[in-house]
């Protein structure tokens, strides 16, 4: 009964591979997000979807492509993985898209690119 879940929890892969991370929320929220946390623990937003529509798209390489098949899911596909993609990726959700909204975070996916 986890509110925001991510799979896989750990991902170790070779440079150049393509990989996907999945996120699901059972909170009935309209808005979902992807964040990247680097090795210095700095957190930066990557994307946000509201009702399956992209509303935030930060300066992220085109190799990263989010997909929201429905309001409860937001997946992240990464093509041609690079060493610098190694990080912890967090999914989050909020009831609505709004600056006052509390965001609920998943446990993170630890990606290591070799």
């Amino acid at each position: 009964d986890t509110a925001v879940s991510q799979t896989p929890k750990y991902l170790v892969t070779q440079m150049g591979n393509d990989k996907s991370i999945k996120c699901e929320q059972n909170l009935g929220h309209d808005t979902m997000y992807w964040y990247k946390q680097d090795s210095k623990k700095f957190l930066k937003i990557m994307f946000s979807y509201n009702n399956k529509e992209l509303i935030i798209n930060e300066t992220v390489p085109n190799r990263f492509s989010p997909k929201s098949p429905d309001k409860a899911h937001l997946n992240l596909h990464i093509n041609s993985l690079e060493l610098g993609d190694s990080a912890v990726y967090f999914c989050a959700s909020s009831q609505q898209a709004g600056s006052q909204e509390t965001q609920y975070f998943g446990p993170g996916t630890r990606l290591l690119v070799l």
């Binding site: 957190l43 006052q100 975070f105």
Partner: protein, 111 residues
């Protein structure tokens, strides 16, 4: 554009002692301010948030924060910490649907 500065990267503290984590923000317009906590190997969890009204905000686990508009600060405090408060603490400002985080403060509580 808004930014957040957390003035202390690491704060060691003894159990049952008070702790204060400092956060300053810069923004040209009104903002909403948040404190999140990240326990080891976990996701972030909201401690408290300031939207409007009373400048003293109470959160979970005995934490509170004070919004000071003139000093553009939102410092987090707890009067008596426990070992279980060992974690990473993030101050964040929300504007235009986006959360912008500070670099984080690592709090280590020792017995």
């Amino acid at each position: 554009a808004q930014s957040v500065t957390q003035l202390d990267s690491q704060v060691p503290v003894f159990e049952e002692a008070p702790v204060e984590l400092r956060c300053n923000y810069s923004s040209s317009v009104s903002v909403y301010l948040f404190w999140y906590v990240q326990y080891p190997n976990q996701g972030l969890q909201l401690l408290l948030k300031y939207l409007s009204g009373s400048t003293l905000v109470k959160g979970i686990n005995g934490f509170e924060a004070e919004f000071n508009k003139s000093q553009t600060s939102f410092h987090l405090r707890k009067p008596s910490v426990h070992i279980s408060d060992t974690a990473e603490y993030f101050c964040a400002v929300s504007q235009d649907y986006k959360l912008s985080f500070g670099a984080g403060t690592t709090v280590t509580v020792r017995a």
